[in-house]
């Protein structure tokens, strides 16, 4: 029992101090009727070496970018993680600490969060960012709830080109809040259709939610969507599933977004089969007090030294209880630290360069694939690092063929968009060399005539 220090003698002495005769007697408050009178039916304990062997066997049954050429994206991206990130977050003063309720001995966490908030504001072009939400999808849902609180309206328009799992999460969060949820179709460019948006928008609309870039990798005309929304007094919630794009694209803030809700996994956080990831969330100064989640603010100590504390806590669940701006308590603090370290390493030039590489490699792949017989690009809009391909022979057939060649070639869209059996989403990042892209293209060309 290597995690438990008690010896038989310790237990004996401690029971004596407590004044009970046995460990069993400590549980006198638990009525006999609810006791479990058998051992739990779980496997016998594994020694450290056995555990690692067992988990190693499980790990070997998963495909990764080490075993396959991977072109999978769709809200989870294979970006390079500098060694520094894991080394630093592995300092146990960071990862074995709790929420920083005692600022005098939590300045490390607090200052890092303050830096994180600043970086997110710079990237999104917004005034204030919280730390932090669970992931992009739940952050997007909190964005909708905040827009509803701020506008006191009850209609929400979601682009059908927004990540399907983000839409599903928004729907779950809003299920019992008597909101009207309407989806806006997309057009031939793969963008939220402007005419339908105009038609659906009215004075009852609380929020328009659009991806930037959207689920198809297409860069929305955010300025136009925001102008249309604002004409009706609605909020624009921009959902960013691939924030590397913000190294190169105009910021959502500059284009008029009122709330930016996104996924920070691209910033140094492992794919880890879908979690833990990092929701980020940014808003305008005027809406500060209706923002969900935790905020860190700068202040001074009793000797005038700069320091940081959790602030505006009166909005939060431990004080406002049923009137709180959200129910969030534990969040993704360590993931926010990973993003802070990653963005600090990349800095002003690096974020731009990595974004440029993603764009250039995806464009290269896109053009090569478009030139293949039997393949086309169904959407005309500009894209960032992923794009939709249409295969005459059907997406499942093509992806199956690629897989046999050791390539995870993309994500079939039919499961979310019925009637799109030929379409799949291909993602190319800085991790894919030209040679890899050429291999993908050759494999696509190699069959199905």
């Amino acid at each position: 029992m290597r995690y438990i220090p008690h010896t038989e003698e310790d237990i004996r002495q401690m029971l004596e101090t407590v004044g009970v005769g046995s460990v069993e007697a400590l549980f006198e408050g638990v009525p006999a009727a609810v006791r479990l009178n058998r051992p739990l039916a779980l496997p016998a304990p594994a020694a450290e070496s056995e555990l690692l062997r067992e988990l190693g066997r499980l790990a070997a049954r998963n495909a990764t970018a080490a075993s396959h050429l991977s072109f999978l994206g769709g809200g989870a991206y294979n970006h390079f993680i500098p060694a520094v990130v894991d080394q630093l977050i592995s300092r146990s003063e960071f990862y074995t600490a709790y929420t920083p309720y005692q600022p005098e001995i939590s300045q490390g966490t607090l200052q890092a969060i303050f830096e994180y908030q600043t970086l997110i504001c710079q990237l999104t072009g917004m005034d204030a960012a919280n730390a932090s939400m669970y992931d992009g999808a739940s952050s997007c849902a909190e964005g909708v709830l905040m827009a509803v609180r701020a506008t006191r309206r009850r209609k929400v328009l979601l682009s059908r080109a927004l990540h399907p799992e983000y839409r599903a999460t928004v729907a779950t969060y809003c299920r019992y809040l008597e909101l009207e949820m309407i989806e806006i179709p997309f057009d031939a460019a793969g963008r939220t259709e402007p005419g339908e948006l105009e038609r659906l928008l009215d004075k009852e609309t609380a929020a328009v939610v659009a991806g930037y870039p959207n689920f198809f990798g297409v860069i929305e005309d955010l300025a136009a969507i925001s102008a249309a929304a604002h004409d009706c007094g609605a909020y624009l919630v921009a959902a960013v599933q691939e924030p590397i794009a913000l190294g190169l694209l105009k910021s959502p803030g500059e284009l008029g977004a009122d709330i930016v809700a996104g996924e920070g996994q691209s910033f140094g956080i492992p794919l880890s089969y879908g979690g833990p990831y990092l929701g980020f969330f940014a808003a305008r100064k005027k809406d500060l007090r209706s923002m969900p989640g935790r905020l860190v603010g700068e202040t001074v100590d009793s000797e005038g030294r700069r320091g940081f504390v959790l602030t505006l806590a009166t909005r939060e669940q431990h004080i406002r209880r049923e009137k709180a701006t959200s129910n969030i308590c534990s969040n993704e603090g360590l993931c926010a630290l990973m993003a802070t370290i990653y963005l600090s390493l990349l800095g002003k030039q690096g974020i731009r360069e990595v974004a440029k590489q993603n764009l250039a490699k995806a464009e290269y792949a896109k053009q090569k694939i478009a030139a293949l017989p039997g393949f086309s690009l169904p959407f005309a809009g500009p894209t960032f690092n992923e794009f939709v391909v249409e295969a005459q022979e059907g997406a499942d057939v093509v992806l199956g063929r690629l897989e046999a060649a050791g390539i995870l070639g993309g994500i079939a869209l039919d499961r979310w968009y019925g009637g799109m059996p030929g379409r799949f989403l291909v993602c190319v990042t800085e991790q894919n060399s030209r040679e890899e892209i050429d291999t993908l293209v050759a494999a696509l060309a190699g069959g199905g005539r």
């Binding site: 016998a44 304990p45 709790y98 970086l119 983000y166 879908g274 603010g297 406002r320 800095g347």
Partner: protein, 484 residues
């Protein structure tokens, strides 16, 4: 020249932005091996204004220094009641970083993710066995996220019965996330007073056909077992309601009793508490939810199921409330929790509970009489004192800050709200008797200081890098980002 040092190796450290020097670089990228692609001026920004420019060593020193200003479980005792800060096994960290686990993409084909799915399936089964529930979802990302999931499931079940109720009963000892969750699900909160433990009679007095659910924490936030739990469940069920259990304190019950056997319908697990996954300065955690058979159809999609020898994600669940996040849950945390369960085995989990309860009762025995104990029932894994009997106009906050000078992270303070000046101590099972003794000696010395030198407490902490902060100023004039 200004010296870097303040007190020996307590180093000063600027903000990352203040270290920036144009032209410095902390990253490397392979040479671009494809043609550059132009982006129209309409879409492109010139730069990310304000982003820092640093070398790798600048970044490493910066965050290393920041880390030294933090207190973690590896630094010492962290007796935060309700938060359950037990030792985080190192092998779990190695496990979560295995390439096949950390590098798995969530949209890889299921037959190429069998290892991840198997682990999740086995964890679902283990949690069901530990809690006595029929089905478990791993999707929620934290305890409060599990509460939201569980309450949505309750509401969906009642609506499926054609029964749309409006109210939720919550005892006054509840964690703040409980009422906030109920409100998020569109419910009106009905508070109920408990006298240490909740009585079935008190519940019966507010239970009616409008009440969808009761949310109860067991053991509760006073560290007491809700001994009338079965009767309480009967009262709620008799009027058509359901019972939600906040399972944040499940570490007091492993192998001893199971919420599913008590009549509870839904419960969330805090994997980051009960199953020793690190809290990372605020998270990530994971908040799986267990439910009875009746409620299982309403759980979020997808669930992991086993067909013969093959594991797959089941999306075909027409009554599901939907999803509460993208993908399947905080998998990296699930790996750590599974590694812990496998390391401990059934006897180990029970032993952990027993030693956690022994440790809490030991602290109680040593401090009782000096610190006021508002409730006299037997403590489970944590014990709550109050500041009632302290001298020199000293309050809980002063004791907490003074403890820092003695080298400890303070306990949870001012919670639960029902105890005035609450001090909630949870030592957990991973502390040995010598550590508990030293901590108790410090607590007793501080109590003495409240009589003899109260000013010392009002000033504390004295030995930290920074002193008490002006929190009022922080809230009045919020500065939430660096502006140069």
């Amino acid at each position: 020249m200004k010296s870097l040092g303040t007190t020996g190796l307590i180093l000063n450290e600027k903000l990352i932005f203040e270290h920036s020097d144009p032209g410095r670089k902390g990253y490397s990228l392979p040479a671009l091996d494809v043609p550059e692609a132009p982006l129209s001026a309409e879409l492109a920004r010139n730069e990310v204004p304000g982003f820092p420019e640093l070398s790798e060593v600048d970044v490493v020193r910066h965050f290393t220094r920041l880390s030294t200003w933090n207190y973690g479980v590896d630094s010492g005792l962290y007796p935060l009641g309700s938060c359950t800060m037990k030792y985080n096994p190192k092998v779990n960290e190695v496990a979560a970083r295995l390439q096949g686990l950390a590098g798995a993409h969530p949209y890889a084909p299921e037959h190429l993710a069998q290892g991840a799915l198997a682990l999740m399936y086995h964890l679902q089964q283990a949690l069901a066995e530990i809690s006595g529930f029929s089905a478990v979802t791993l999707q929620p990302a934290a305890g409060a996220h599990g509460e939201l999931t569980g309450m949505l499931v309750i509401r969906a079940c009642l609506e499926a019965r054609g029964d749309s109720r409006k109210k939720v009963i919550i005892p006054d000892t509840a964690h703040g996330t409980n009422p906030a969750t109920a409100a998020l699900c569109g419910y009106e909160v009905v508070p109920v007073a408990s006298d240490g433990i909740l009585s079935a009679a008190a519940v019966a007095a507010v239970m009616d056909g409008e009440v969808a659910a009761l949310m109860i924490t067991n053991p509760n936030t006073l560290g007491l077992f809700e001994s009338e739990i079965t009767e309480i469940c009967n009262v709620v069920h008799a009027k058509g309601g359901l019972v939600y259990c906040d399972g944040a304190n499940l570490n007091a019950l492993l192998g001893i009793a199971r919420p599913g056997d008590m009549g509870i319908d839904v419960m969330h697990f805090n994997l980051h508490k009960t199953f020793a996954t690190p809290h990372g300065g605020g998270g990530p955690g994971a908040g799986p939810v267990g439910v009875t058979e009746e409620l299982a159809p309403f759980l979020p999609v997808p669930l992991v199921v086993k067909d013969g020898e093959v594991f797959r994600l089941d999306y075909d669940r027409p009554h599901s409330v939907g999803r509460v996040k993208a993908f399947y849950g905080n998998f990296g945390i699930l790996v750590r929790a599974w590694a812990y369960i496998r390391s401990m085995g059934p006897q180990g989990l029970r032993h952990a509970t027993e030693m956690a309860v022994l440790n809490a009762n030991y602290i109680r025995a040593r401090l009782e009489g000096t610190y006021h104990l508002p409730h006299r029932r037997r403590s489970m894994h944590e014990v709550v004192f109050s500041d009632r009997d302290l001298g020199g106009d000293c309050h809980t906050l002063d004791v907490a800050k003074r403890l820092i000078d003695y080298g400890y992270h303070p306990p949870t303070i001012y919670f639960p709200l029902v105890v005035k000046g609450a001090i909630m101590i949870e030592p957990t099972e991973t502390e040995c008797v010598e550590v508990l003794d030293e901590f108790c000696d410090a607590m007793l010395a501080i109590a003495k200081e409240t009589q003899e030198n109260p000013d010392l407490l009002h000033q504390a902490p004295l030995k930290t890098r920074t002193r008490r902060f002006d929190e009022t100023a922080a809230a009045r004039n919020p500065r939430l980002k660096w502006e140069g």
